[in-house]
């Protein structure tokens, strides 16, 4: 954990030597590569991890996400690599996929559970966590591929099954360009 000299940090947030004064435009490679529609009222965010871009829609403990993987510098060269990775595993085992039909299209949808820590990062000793229920689908797109996912973080023991209506609509809206 880094110490938090917030205001001092802010004061030092000055333009770096030699940096351009021009503000860079926001870019979103995922929206450029596919059409999709998030639920009304959900918060939309875009970002990246390394070379891999993503767009998320979130509302409370629910999250929809599209990740674009397999491009240059991606952490996964192929969908097969992704499916063998910890990001596609549940309790250390590969998630199992079932074919789901949405409209006229078929998606192989995987189910996964994972743990989301609730304590501070860097804290020692036994920690607590919430269970996360997730559905995800892999959609090939040339040499790249998309990973669409829908998850819920369970702050209380899950009493109702995950409402898949939002997920199904999201899948139906998704179309690689």
């Amino acid at each position: 954990m880094r110490s938090a000299p917030f205001l001092l940090g802010l004061a030092l947030l000055a333009a770096p030597a030699g940096a351009s004064e021009k503000t860079m435009p926001s870019s979103d490679p995922v929206s450029a590569a596919a059409r999709f529609k998030g639920p009304a009222g959900w918060q939309r965010d875009a970002g990246s991890f390394g070379a891999d871009a993503f767009v998320t829609f979130s509302s409370g403990t629910l999250r929809l996400r599209v990740q674009l993987l397999g491009g240059k510098g991606s952490r996964y060269a192929t969908a097969k690599e992704f499916l063998a990775s910890p990001e596609a595993k549940s309790g250390g085992k590969a998630a199992v996929g079932k074919t789901t039909t949405v409209g006229r299209r078929k998606f192989k949808v995987y189910e996964r559970t994972s743990e989301a820590p609730t304590g501070a990062p860097g804290a020692m000793g036994p920690g607590s966590s919430d269970t996360v229920d997730e559905r995800f689908a892999v959609v090939p797109a040339g040499k790249t591929f998309f990973v669409l996912s829908y998850s819920r973080r369970n702050e209380v023991p899950a009493e109702a099954p995950l409402d898949l209506g939002v997920w199904t609509k999201f899948l139906a809206s998704f179309q690689p360009r």
């Binding site: 110490s3 917030f6 030092l12 947030l13 510098g73 910890p86 989301a116 304590g119 990062p121 607590s128």
Partner: protein, 583 residues
């Protein structure tokens, strides 16, 4: 005779522990001679405190140098030094007392239907007795300790490396030897410099580059931790990168007393709770502070080495590079700095053989894209960090979109704060169900079966939910000032904003964000992103075939799982839809 037997028992124990076969075995006390507190077998602080207290039935005091114990009972001749067998008898009495305490608490628990309650000190004391003084106990007494304290998790753990409990309570009037005067067991055990020549050369360069602060023992432990870091593949990689452009004296390594941290017993092992450390990256020189409790726990040098890698080769290395690149301020608000430091520490930890039980590591390995978002809703500090995309994002008028981004985070935190009321109600419902079942004859006679369920519910109601509320209020006030929280609570139509939102909306704040947007495209940020991708791949390999649950301590077999409990509640609800209300 009892005294002699007790002394002989201790000698047998010492031999069984393998010390007798050690050519460098430490000097031992011998029957018939004065007991020397500095020779084996050493007294634990709990035993010493017992002997020096009225509970022991005598009036015993340490000599001024702390090396021997004198008998000051009125019936004695005032001052004779206790012999080994005298002390052995007292050790036995202390062990029997621990077993008696366990039996009494268990009996009370069975009578009341509530799990037995023990203080941390009692747990540690009793487990130490069970581990190191079992030869004094009857099978019945050992069974009582097993039932009461942690050994239900599995086999009895190996002997602790030291009986030295620095946090034991002092008996009234006791003269406890100062901690500084005691031998430094961890520092003495740990050889600082690695044996491998390449790692040793790197270690020597690093050790010459940084400043070790603190007592000689603390400095020796810090050196040993640094040695452990460069014994790892990733540690050498990042140490070499650090040395590429660092200058001597830019970093100080030291221990610090960190608030809200305490040493506890966990499954027979001494660990601590609270923060492992911090890197004060705004200071010159940068100060890396590790929690001083690393000096008091089992395997503290190795655990601390992982944290040292995080703070030193993670945060401090990147902060120094950011200073040189003129992007230090942006680095402090970039949401990839913490995952980078985290991954550096986790990777070194796994490479040095630590178990893969760190929850945040599994979270990052299993969802690196979602990790920063999880942090932003977890702690105030991270709520004020941004992705490269967010640093660059502008509104149609050309100004930075950061104030709007922060306003959304503030609103989300407010929604989540309100949701905690629903969560609390839900957990209180589970608590009612637990209390119903705990009162049933099936569980009243075996309350330990519901212990895991009780701990989870109690942890939520007394720990997680209050802590989450505090963190969410902290996020709101950090982002929008106290006025934001007050205004939300009043339901003001025109909410007021201070904090970061006000700052970033000001001309100075917008100017700072222009700098951050430029820093987002700096070579250093791109290099760190590439490093994070490499770290993710490395951790993926290191965790292949492993799982968090497999390496975490297993709950006792007697405990019902949450799933079993949930089924019981479900079945009861099928009988009575209003359950657990009205029970």
């Amino acid at each position: 005779m009892k005294r002699l037997l007790a002394a002989l028992f201790i000698i047998v124990l010492a031999s069984a522990a393998g010390r007798a076969a050690d050519p460098k075995k430490p000097p031992e006390n011998e029957p018939g001679k004065a007991f020397n507190t500095r020779l084996e077998p050493k007294l634990s602080s709990a035993e010493l405190a017992y002997i020096l207290s009225e509970d022991s039935g005598g009036v015993y005091r340490l000599s001024e140098d702390g090396g021997s114990i004198a008998n000051f009972s009125p019936e004695s001749d005032y001052g004779p030094v206790l012999k080994f067998e005298d002390v052995a008898t007292l050790i036995q009495a202390h062990a029997e007392k621990a077993a008696k305490m366990a039996k009494e608490r268990l009996a009370e628990a069975k009578r009341t239907g509530r799990p037995p309650a023990f203080s941390d000190f009692e747990k540690r004391m009793a487990q130490d007795v069970r581990r190191t003084r079992h030869m004094f106990l009857s099978p019945e007494e050992m069974a009582a300790l097993d039932e009461a304290f942690g050994y239900r998790y599995g086999k009895v753990p190996a002997a602790a490396p030291s009986l030295d409990f620095d946090v034991a309570p002092a008996a009234p009037g006791a003269v406890l030897p100062p901690v500084a005067a005691r031998p430094p067991p961890q520092a003495a055990r740990a050889a600082a410099a690695p044996a491998d020549p390449a790692a040793r050369a790197l270690y020597e360069k690093l050790a010459a580059n940084v400043t070790f602060a603190g007592t000689p023992r603390e400095q020796a432990t810090l050196r040993a931790m640094l040695g452990k870091v460069v014994e790892t593949e990733s540690g050498r990689r990042f140490a070499a990168d650090f040395l590429k452009d660092s200058k001597a004296g830019e970093t100080v390594l030291e221990f610090e007393d960190i608030p809200n941290s305490k040493v506890i017993d966990w499954n027979g092992k001494k660990i601590f709770t609270g923060s492992g450390g911090h890197a004060h990256t705004s200071d010159t020189p940068i100060r890396v502070h590790l929690n001083r409790n690393f000096l008091a726990i089992d395997d503290g040098t190795r655990d601390g080495a992982s944290t040292l890698a995080h703070e030193f080769l993670g945060h401090s290395r990147q902060a120094l590079k950011a200073r040189r690149a003129g992007v230090a301020g942006a680095m402090r608000v970039w949401d990839q700095d913490e995952p980078n430091a985290g991954a550096v520490g986790w990777t070194a930890g796994l490479e040095m053989g630590l178990p893969a039980t760190e929850g945040w590591m599994w979270s990052w390995v299993g969802d690196p894209a979602g990790y920063p978002q999880a942090l932003k809703t977890n702690q105030a500090y991270y709520a004020g960090t941004f992705s490269r995309d967010e640093m660059r994002r502008t509104k149609p008028d050309g100004t930075s979109a950061v104030p709007d981004i922060l306003e959304k985070r503030l609103q989300n935190a407010w929604s989540e704060l309100k949701r905690q009321d629903d969560n609390e109600r839900s957990w209180k419902g589970w608590d009612k169900a637990y209390r119903y079942f705990a009162a049933q004859p099936e569980f009243a006679t075996e309350p330990e079966r519901l212990e895991g369920v009780h701990r989870r519910i109690d942890g939520q109601l007394t720990g997680q939910i209050p802590s989450r509320r505090g963190n969410l209020e902290g996020i709101i006030t950090y982002l929008g000032g106290q006025e934001a929280l007050d205004s939300l609570r009043r339901g003001d139509a025109m909410p007021r904003r201070g904090g970061l939102i006000a700052h970033y909306s000001s001309p100075d704040g917008q100017k700072a964000l222009t700098g951050a947007a430029a820093a987002a495209d700096s070579e250093l940020f791109k290099t760190i992103e590439a490093e994070n991708t490499w770290l993710h791949g490395r951790l993926t390999k290191l965790t292949a075939g492993r799982s968090q649950s497999a390496e975490a301590p297993r709950p006792p077999d007697a405990w019902l799982s949450w799933e079993q409990f949930a089924k019981m509640v479900q079945a009861k609800k099928a009988e009575n839809p209003k359950f657990p209300e009205g029970q």
